[in-house]
Symmetry: C2
Subunit: 272 residues, 2 copies
Amino acid sequence: MLGPHAPVATPEQLAAAREAREAYRGGLVAPTSGVAHGLVQANLIAVPRDWAFETLLFAQRNPKSCPVLEVVEPSADGRVEPRLAPGADLRTDIPAYRVWRDGELVEEVADATAAWAEQPLVAFLIGCSFTFEAGLADAGIPIRHQELGTNVPMYRTARQCEPAGRLSGELVVSMRPIPADRVADAVAISGRFPAVHGAPVHIGDPGSLGIADLGAPDFGDAPEVREGEVPVFWACGVTPQAAIMASRPPFAITHAPGHMMVLDVPDAAYAA
Amino acid sequence: MLGPHAPVATPEQLAAAREAREAYRGGLVAPTSGVAHGLVQANLIAVPRDWAFETLLFAQRNPKSCPVLEVVEPSADGRVEPRLAPGADLRTDIPAYRVWRDGELVEEVADATAAWAEQPLVAFLIGCSFTFEAGLADAGIPIRHQELGTNVPMYRTARQCEPAGRLSGELVVSMRPIPADRVADAVAISGRFPAVHGAPVHIGDPGSLGIADLGAPDFGDAPEVREGEVPVFWACGVTPQAAIMASRPPFAITHAPGHMMVLDVPDAAYAA
């Protein structure tokens, strides 16, 4: 929970965030990397109430991949309004959702209101590495998937998370190709944001993470790694989705990878 | 959850921790401040399973007072063994326990095995400010309650925590009188340990925290504030006990304030 003295967004940033959410509410489906520059974005996972403790415990035991920014329960009128984006609604304001039954992806929708009405859910907003991308970009480090207008590539790894009750699964990572002479800067800059995945978990050598083919990500789009660039891997907030695929809770709603919840708080609020 | 490369304790430290826990298991009741110098100590709160989600959520929403180090459930044979102290048992290895019914303290015991057998409980180990006392002492900052051989003074404040479902309550703080010319050092040193309360929440002016009489703490022993010293207040892991008093869950077991669980991990494992 942010304290009363946490940094706040500028009016321009807030306007950009609200405009983006309004567009998503209206049906726009697009990755959010680079949207509302300087504001925090979040992964969503919503589970039935009797899975809430294990989900929160899974996050507590795997803080690098699952940093919890907020836990949100519906209000009496059904709205699911996060304090980190007053006036927003988690059921409609994300560009794309995935609906899961027994661990199977059954539907991808632009509006989750109907799915959300099925049963009482507890929603978790998990930090997203898009948060520190603004810092990387400000330091002149290229963000390839933004340049190309594609989604960041994400990979399931051979590294198991710490389980929590019925929930277990492997670590998911996002990858950005970074020029070799800027890797140390990328470590330092992302390391200043421990609440949104922090420093990379792995640099170079995809094979030792169990990634056989960098060109075939499990989520997002294929990357373009250029001469002189090193693949740098960060823990990814899609990790809870992998846990759902592995652990098969009866029902869940998540964001679609790369299509995040844009919040009203500046990245600086989560800087160490 | 600590990673595989976290700093580990020295054999001497481990021997001191095991000796202390063995003495407590044998019936010794004494405050643990200063015990097993350089190792982490923890607050305990154990609640019925249907209060576990709200307790973990309360901690997530109030991380400064309730930093969760580990969540422990009993194994099949009833043992409650934390990974942070392999071989230990949370039911016996703390010097003194408090048993709560409907928010009322009904018993203080040296062995919680019988109470623990009543119903399935989920135990939370919460960081403790004793952890950074070693750093303060190493920097030559006097720890008054250690000098006097008393328990650290703790106070309920007028500041409300963020509630979580049925759980709410006020912030509890621990207080150490610090020489005015060392207060900044005490801030810097404790600030390096965000996982165990971190920097002070308040310095000087007890009245504005709602503390009417520094000489009458709500938990622990009365302090001795000397000429030239300033009262410095840190968020305290007794905060969940205040939430129990305010929120009245049907049953709970906690440590007795100042009588902590001594763990096997060095303070450095939680340094930022």
